[in-house]
Amino acid sequence: MKRRVVISGVGIYSVLGKNIEEVSASLYNGASGIGLDEARKEVGFRSMLTGILERPNLKELLSRRQRIGLPEQGEYAYVATLEALKNAKIDMDFLEKNEVGILYGNDSSSIPVIESIDRVRETKDTTLLGSGAIFQSMNSTITMNLSVIFKLRGINFTISGACASSSHAVGMAYFLIKHGYQDIVLCGGGQEINPESMGSFDGLSAFSIRHDAPKQASRPFDKNRDGLIPSGGGASLVVESLESALKRGANIIAEIEGYGFSSNGDHISVPNEIGPTQSLERCLKDANKAAKDIDYVNAHATSTLVGDTMEARALNTVFGAASTPISSTKSMTGHEMWMGGASELIYSTIMMHKSFIAPNINFETPDEDSEKLNIISKTTEKKLNRILSNSFGFGGTNSSIILSKYNK
């Protein structure tokens, strides 16, 4: 059984905006969501740069019991999911009567873990942690919370694949639906943005220290980049069989045509060229498409030298001859990590619908690898029928997904 798979709802809560409309404007305008968190310097960080995002107030939306198990990234994911379900025309009545699954990408929940350990060390009494700590602490916190809040009764687990987590989540949902195991799966990614979650990453000197110009700090593919900027939020997609979406009269946002994955089997933090190349080639093969059929690539590129270089080489191998337009929206968002795969698919659907390519801002000086690519540094009006989005992560996990405009 092979069925067509579509996206019938999207929702976003990111440093570019708190809903699809706001994010659409930011993408078009090449706005940056990066700023300074000066408190990071006081607690020993090398970099004070971060995506800037306030936490939503959920008191009017959720009961105490529903709120108490939700950590920061769970709050973002919840708000994004409300928007995704709304534009998918799915309400609580539908969810109670139909089986919907959830596959979400998340790979940390630092604050609840740190606070719990601190409190037990101080009080020597685990009962004083309260009832929410365990549900906030686990990597599966988002799926366990959202499945209860939204009464989901299908597939239900979290995918932890580093910075490719939520891209793999969408890929897995695509497989499950394509092969007939599920009709609808809520997918997405959540990423905490607090300093505590980023200290060990900062310790690797992976972050930019361009403190004098935060909005110019994230410079994927640019020769003068000096590291990535951590960021976060929540991104949700309703992934559904075409048959189910048509039956419900849903608004079909895009079709998922292909998913490719690979593992470098190499270094824990240093990526290589061959793994990403395989992921791209498998994705094209799964979609039965060639490089020339892709109108735009949303690159993973995070603004680190080695990561950008390896991806640039892989992209050149696969898309060089086709001169496919490429940009990294991380130039605006910073690195949304566990959430990045899902959010960048959403950014790509926005571009497809509004017929433009969001710019790779701050791309001013190519290096010897990026100069071979068609990198779009200014907002470009262009009809996009088919896009590919890359997500790669520590441990050498790679994911690529192809989306197209829905055609009967």
Binding site: S63, R64, R65, I68, D125, T127, L128, L129, G130, S131
Partner: protein, 79 residues
């Protein structure tokens, strides 16, 4: 501490922390059936009692507390 003071503190945290409507908080209100508390909420009540009244609650003790008056009496006895 007078029992009335204990009641004021308990009513305060039931309203603020547990978001229970004031008119439901009467002496013979059943914690589960009337106030809508569930087993996980008792974990949080243990935390709040220690914070507000300064003594350590044994989780097992909570099994005998069914209505609010039981809770007031338990706190008074252990203060």
């Amino acid at each position: 501490m007078q029992k009335s003071e204990i009641k004021d503190i308990v009513v305060g945290f039931l309203m603020d922390e547990f978001e229970i409507e004031e008119n439901l908080i009467v002496d013979d209100a059943h914690l589960i059936n009337d106030l809508g508390l569930e087993s996980l909420d008792f974990v949080d009540i243990v935390v709040i009692i220690e914070k507000e009244f300064g003594f350590k609650v044994q989780r097992e003790d909570m099994k005998d507390i069914r209505v609010l008056n039981d809770l007031y009496n338990y706190i008074e006895k252990n203060m």
